[in-house]
């Protein structure tokens, strides 16, 4: 399904632009410019407003991202539980820094704020799925699972 079809599915939902953006990202992992322009048309809004929505919410990306989007929580409970060491281990394992993507098209690293799994800090998510009580030692195993 391409973005035109997805947008058409949500056209009749009042305020459905955010739901439509979620659905597009589910397929493409980001929101291409053409999709944002098309969304403005479908929902009868100026392009500026559609772009405003796409860039307001941290889960939406207007830049292409790789197959596995890894987000590391850096909120206070994860911070004191050692999130910085997990970040360092991920950067080392993948050979990239936070906010960038691997050349093989497999991984993108992003920061996030609290993901609500605070019983088991530090927490990372991969494509929305939480991984709990993460330690630097667990990183290579988690990455291998995704390959």
């Amino acid at each position: 399904m391409d973005y035109q079809e997805i947008l058409a599915n949500y056209a009749d939902m009042p305020g459905g632009m955010i739901e439509a953006f979620h659905a597009i990202q589910e397929k493409l992992n980001y929101l291409p410019e053409e999709a944002i322009v098309e969304a403005a048309k479908v929902f009868g809004k100026p392009v500026s407003q559609a772009y405003g929505v796409a860039t307001f919410y941290s889960m939406f990306s207007v830049e292409p991202r790789n197959k596995n989007v890894i987000r590391i929580c850096e909120s206070a409970p994860c911070h004191v539980a050692g999130a910085a060491e997990v970040v360092a281990a991920l950067e080392k394992e993948l050979g990239i820094s936070m906010g960038s993507s691997t050349a093989d098209g497999l991984f993108t690293l992003e920061f996030t704020e609290c993901v609500g799994q605070c019983q088991s800090t530090p927490v990372i998510t991969i494509n929305g799925k939480p991984f709990l009580d993460v330690t630097p030692a667990k990183i290579s195993g988690i990455i291998a699972e995704c390959k």
């Binding site: 305020g15 955010i18 889960m59 909120s75 206070a76 409970p77 704020e113 609500g116 998510t125």
Partner: protein, 407 residues
Amino acid sequence: MAEEMRIVLRNYGKIDPLKIDDYIAVGGYNSLNKARSMSNPDLINEVKASNLRGRGGAGFNCGMKWNFAYQAQADQKYVICNADEGEPGTYKDRLIMENDPHTLLEGMAICAYAIGATQGFIYCRGEYPSVAKTLKQAIAQAKEKGVLGDFTIEVRLGAGAYVCGEETALIESIEGKRGEPRIKPPFPPVIGLWGKPTIVNNVETFANIPVIVEKGSAWYAAIGTPSYPGTKVVTLTGDVANKTFFEVPTSTTIREVIFQFGGGIANGKGFKAVQIGGTSGAFIPAANLDTPIGFDAMTAIGAALGSGAVFVLDESRDLVDVTARIAKFFAHESCGKCAPCREGTMRVHDLMDKINAGKGVSADIALLNKLGRVMSYSCLCGLGQAAPSPVLSTIEHFSADYNAKLM
């Protein structure tokens, strides 16, 4: 010795959350039937008399709020559940929705009947895709059984914006826009979603409703602290032995939460500070540990109950480092609509980073105090108003941590 008391988590682990028959077997949806046999004013008065106050952070009397929407004249009214719990360290609403979704639906349906609404929305945070799935399944089951009558509920997914926990920002987001708070008044019970009267309550607030209708307002009002009766789900994080959750009466003290339920400080260390209510809460020193976790008692010590998150720090922690991290959070999450918050959170972050890096001077602390005070009364919404409280409270109670890092 304080004891746990489960009202909103009464079915936790006892029923299969994905089976509506399990919920019905333990008396589920009886309260909705009972509510529908009452007149709207009688039902609203019952909720008002229970003195249930919002579990989302503002602590407003729930029945009173419902009455505003009931009295508003409109062709359409809405019921919204705020399931956008974004306060770091908080996962109470997730527990309720994952383990007992029907109690939320029942609470919303009772509210819908009370105010005369036929359409409801659950605004679930984007970080909880599996919860949204559970809710959709529960809604489909309730529809199939016909228990909700003419009330329909739709789930909308947030997309990672902390400010959308603010009710008017949340409404903007359901309308498909940027989640920027509206100027109040008018308040949502008068002019809310698509300009119609709207009730926005938190998950935990709605989960209390079926029990209040079942057991009566007098029963509920007698639990915990009289001015903020009932229970509160607390989630324990940081340097506490038991990083888990409890539901306790609101008369329980902070000391009991940390040292009795939480098993004390992890690794045999000493207590330094606790931040309650999420990342926007004040840091509380040992001297105030005997404060009950009621709304007004917490306000009286310059703190807030907020979401009920309990973030414990041991004696080895550097509060300047933790507060600098929190300052970054607010600089990131400020929506940018009002200048005091947009510029203020950025400046607070700059100053905290400067001090944390060992480059600060005492004049920076004076600046932080002044800026924080200005933000607390000039920001448009609760985000900016509460953002300085971790900074102001650590400067007040833990000045040694700051002084140790000054040039």
